[in-house]
Amino acid sequence: MTPASFLERTAPFAFTLGLFVFWEAVCQLFGVNPIILPAPSAIVEATVTHWKPLLRHSGATMWTTLAGFAIAVAFGVVLGMIVGWSRAIYRGLYPVMVGFNSIPKVAVVPILVIWFGIGEIPAILTAFLISFFPIVVNVATGLATTEPELEDVLRALGARKLDIILKVGIPRAQPYFYGSLKVAITLAFVGSVVSETIAANSGIGYLMSVAGTNFQMPLVFAGLIALAIEGIAMYALFAFIEMRTTRWAFRSSFAAGG
């Protein structure tokens, strides 16, 4: 560790703290209406008073997000492997997937509500629908970009397609896969909260929309902060898993084929 790294390590905390101090100062100095923008102190107060419902609804959001994310991982890996397996399937499915991905998922929620009613299931499915795409693309890319020369070496030895996928494709796709999990979990959060806001009776999204209609702005912002904390925690978890599982990809200049 070099001396400069102390500054680097503390910088994220210093900046976050600084942001809240600045926010508080602006609210106090200009006397901002708490209906427009509550000060951090008011948000903390709301968090303390309403900690029970906040915790319960956070738990609900966490559950729907993780459930949708788990389905997305399973589905994304399988579809990614199918797509990465052959060029024909890749070319056939790609436009369909891009088209599907470009639909704003908010537009799908009413349909899901008609199918499954108000509640958890639309939230889980929205989280799934919004987050599987990056997993599919990354797994497929990892498989499809195997160096052709390496494939020749193995094929000349009599390797079958399955051998090449197992020995080269899957290990090679791993850094792509773990990288995509970071993106997917964040998206899954977006999906479940969007769905909760529109049609649910639990979850942070529901809590925020109810608090909003009652003009309890500090509670709305407390919900936002709770979401941010959950999001950061999940992102950090998957970034950590990524580092641990594919150390070789960070060490080697992967793109240079080293």
């Binding site: 070496v153 020995k167 090679r172 060490r251």
Partner: protein, 253 residues
């Protein structure tokens, strides 16, 4: 071992045509030629990765109809798997080729010993546990040679294996390849741009022309073996390189 090619075309463009090449068992053949003359197609034909549209390819008197399995290959890029140690990279072919494939799990220790022996032979003693990114380009290429030889192939196909290395490392690896060949005695087909490399290593140098690629001249190199690097500065050697160079200039016209 006899390889006979007689014309082949791929995907509308005729890559090689009327190409006749014979390599005796245990011989060291080099193929030189201008870029785009179908050298890579030749590699793929000989190993059975590509089927000829016309003509006949035979390795060891048997007509090639699919991947030949008795060939080892190495390319300009070492193409090592970054998540495997050097030893596991070398062992990769044994996980594919029969009969090793079936025996691999049970006899891992025995095979690992074999890999370490081969690594020692190319001067990579003690690097078996390292990862590819910890090694220099020349060392990676040595590993790639070991990987091409671990399953004891009768035929070694090399596609410009030293082209990406600096001049000193390249000459070092010429000697590594020379010694491996003298010791193990496989058949080599070396595709290269480097005329000095071809003349230093090979028994026979074949000159290819471009589009459609075919062998326009073959020249036996009768310099005595074992050859040391100093041979490169002898007038006889210089004459050979000069001669090869003028033949290539002819086909480039």
């Amino acid at each position: 071992m006899t390889l006979t090619y007689a014309g082949a075309s791929g995907g509308g463009v005729t890559a090689v045509q009327g190409l006749d090449l014979n390599v005796e068992r245990g011989a060291f053949a080099a193929v030189v030629g201008p870029s785009g003359c179908g050298k890579s197609t030749l590699m793929k034909l000989a190993t059975g990765l590509v089927r000829p549209t016309a003509g006949r390819i035979a390795v060891d008197e048997a007509v090639v109809e699919g991947p030949v399995k008795i060939a080892g290959m190495a390319f300009q890029n070492a193409n090592l798997l970054p998540w495997r140690t050097i030893r596991d990279n070398v062992l990769l072919p044994l996980e594919i080729v029969e009969p090793h494939r079936r025996r691999f799990r049970r006899n891992k220790a025995e095979y690992a010993e074999r890999a370490d022996g081969l690594l020692a032979l190319v001067g990579l003693d003690g690097f078996a546990e390292r990862f590819p990114w910890e090694l220099s380009g020349g060392m990676q290429q040595r590993t790639s040679l070991c990987r091409a030889l671990i399953h004891e192939p009768a035929l070694l196909m090399l596609d410009e294996p030293f082209a990406a290395l600096d001049a000193f490392t390249r000459e070092e690896l010429w000697c590594v390849l020379r010694d491996l060949w003298a010791r193990i005695g496989f058949t080599v087909v070396l595709v290269t741009h480097d005329l000095r490399e071809a003349a230093f290593l090979a028994d026979t140098v074949h000159v290819m022309s471009a589009r459609p690629g075919r062998i326009v001249a073959s020249r036996a190199i009768d310099l005595p073996r074992p050859r040391e690097l100093d041979v490169c500065f002898e007038p006889e050697f210089v004459d050979i390189v000069h001669d090869l160079r003028s033949r290539i200039s002819e086909v480039r016209q």
